[in-house]
């Protein structure tokens, strides 16, 4: 328990000024602009959008600048801002099959319709520091990028053509009723898969990465293959009541990962691969892969697998995946707890005093 304390206004004001000064850094160096963060630290902005659960690149850049590059703090700022806005609409489910591809690979099939498109990936770089970037003007804008004669061909979803052979589990029939929403109704357990995916989509990347890694190391291993990973733009559509037909309101960048996992089968069911799904704002490949692995692990009950590992424990995974909640609760320990600490000191002193008098009495 903590109680309100008064005082410290002058010190707090000074601390805020120090924060502003620290944020600005060396005044002789040019100030970083939001356009620079959006354009040149775009993956940081994507992570902030995803975990804040608000797609707005410029605001994500602002949050990163304000938070001095502390992404978890930036996520907190953007998540808090989100609560000030009214919900105007809910979109139709986006169709990732029509994505305008920026990157699309499959680690399970080399020959897939539409082909493997590497896009702007870190894969195949040597992970050596590039000192050319350290030099002023070392990275010329628009350095000649080769162009293929034709744009990327349409890329049907990998799961789609495996499905035709019946080798992979089909999508469950769409569930009736309203789409559950953790921003409106608190998480409750057991949660259905739609709810879990919403929580994982805004879950902390580091946390999901660690859980996903744990499944690969044997804690609920389910033999994953990266069936398909795709990044690019999709249209967003809504159906306004006054129009009565769907209209496009713009496009967003998404990264989708479909994991193909160990198969299940039985007397009443032919052997089939199972699927785990990840979807994230912007370019968040690692996040969407981790999400897909954790999604699959959380399907243990549904697929009749024994729950033996942390990544399969729905309450453990979902209750701790939100870094706004987690950092809030850990960091609240910095707030004054003087009264409860005093009371615990009193208890310890009393225990010691009681023990001492007992000893004296015994001697």
């Amino acid at each position: 328990m903590y109680v309100a304390v008064k005082g410290g206004e002058v010190a707090i004001d000074a601390a805020h000024r120090l924060l502003a000064r620290a944020r600005r850094g060396d005044g002789t160096v040019a100030e970083v602009s939001l356009a620079q963060i959006e354009g040149q630290l775009s993956l940081a902005a994507d992570r902030v959008m995803g975990e804040a659960s608000l797609y707005d690149r410029t605001l994500a850049a602002l949050a990163i600048k304000q938070a001095r590059g502390d992404l978890v703090e930036a996520i907190f700022l953007l998540r808090a801002y989100r609560t000030t806005l009214p919900r105007l609409a809910a979109s139709e489910p986006v169709d990732t099959g029509t994505m305008r591809i920026r990157r699309r690979i499959s680690a399970a099939f080399k020959d897939l319709p539409g082909g493997q498109v590497l896009g702007p990936t870190f894969d195949y770089t040597h992970r050596l520091l590039d000192f050319a970037l350290a030099a002023e003007g070392g990275a010329p804008a628009g350095e000649a990028t080769p162009e293929a004669p034709d744009p990327v061909a349409p890329c049907p979803r990998v799961a789609g053509f495996l499905n035709k052979e019946g080798l992979i589990e089909p999508a469950a029939a769409p569930e009736p009723g309203a789409v559950p929403d953790i921003t409106r109704a608190p998480l409750d357990y057991p949660a259905d898969r739609r709810t879990r995916l919403q929580a994982l989509a805004r879950g902390d990347e580091g946390y999901l990465l660690a859980l996903a890694y744990s499944t690969q190391r044997g804690y609920a291993n389910n033999h994953p293959f990266a069936g398909e990973i795709r990044t690019g733009k999709v249209d967003v559509e809504i159906v306004p009541e006054e129009l009565g037909f769907p209209v496009c309101i713009g496009e967003i960048d998404l990264t989708e990962c479909e994991m193909i996992n160990q198969f299940v089968g039985g007397p009443d069911r032919p052997a089939q691969f199972t699927r785990g799904y990840g979807l994230a704002f912007g370019e968040q490949e690692r996040k969407s892969m981790a999400m897909a692995l954790v999604d699959r692990a959380l399907r243990a009950d549904e697929l009749g697998e024994p729950r033996t590992a942390p990544a399969q424990d729905e309450e453990f995974v979902l209750a701790h995946c939100d870094n706004v909640e987690a950092s809030g609760f850990v960091q609240h320990l910095k707030l004054p707890h003087y009264v409860d600490f005093q009371s615990e000191l009193d208890v310890i002193r009393r225990i010691r005093a009681a023990a001492a008098s007992k000893r004296e009495a015994a001697e």
Binding site: P86, R87, L88, A89, R184, E241, E242
Partner: protein, 192 residues
């Protein structure tokens, strides 16, 4: 579809004004407040009802439109996005006219844990006035106050039966043109 009438010309300031007036009314049951409405109001709602709808409804507040108020459905959807409740007891807000009133018990009365989830019922009445036969008392009223509440006697009788369910209950706002008066669930009404 005919074009919906416009909403508030200055949505932020005007909704806050309507909200503040309503707050004043609810804090002082029986007091008549002025609630200026939007530039254009829909068929089916009075000025104060239109202003209250714009100020309080959004996509998370299912609304029930009783009787003639149902004509305002396109306008409410257009401006507020509030979904239509399938039944009165699924509504956070309900709009009605004195002539075609559902029974108070038909609405959501909230739960003991969440009494705030009850329906708020906004009724357009003819001839709302301060002073009159109805004697009001309860929280927010110093002693007693009087008002003219042009609603059927049977409606108040049914409302009085809900009192024992407190903290569950139904909050009422009576409107007449651009004026409004609130009767929260804790207000006792005699002689109406």
């Amino acid at each position: 579809m005919p074009l919906p009438e416009p909403g508030f010309a200055d949505p932020v300031a005007e909704s806050q004004r309507a909200f503040r007036a309503l707050l004043d009314a609810i804090a002082h049951p029986g007091r008549i407040v002025d609630i200026p409405g939007p530039a254009g109001r829909p068929e089916g709602l009075s000025i104060a009802q239109s202003a209250i709808a714009l100020a309080l409804l959004d996509g998370d507040t299912p609304v029930w439109l009783a009787g003639p108020c149902a004509s305002a459905r396109p306008w409410i959807a257009f401006h507020t996005g509030a979904p239509a409740a399938p039944r009165p007891d699924g509504a956070r807000f309900a709009f009605a006219e004195a002539g075609e009133l559902p029974a108070p018990g038909a609405f959501d009365l909230g739960t003991d844990a969440y009494p705030d989830r009850s329906t708020t019922l906004i009724i357009e009445t003819p001839g709302l006035a301060a002073g009159g036969n109805a004697l009001l008392s309860g929280p927010g009223i110093a002693g007693t106050t009087r008002a003219t509440l042009p609603l059927p006697r049977a409606f108040f009788a049914a409302r009085a039966e809900l009192a024992e369910l407190f903290p569950r209950g139904l909050d009422l706002v009576l409107t007449d043109g651009a004026r409004a008066l609130a009767l929260p669930r804790g207000t006792r009404v005699e002689g109406a």
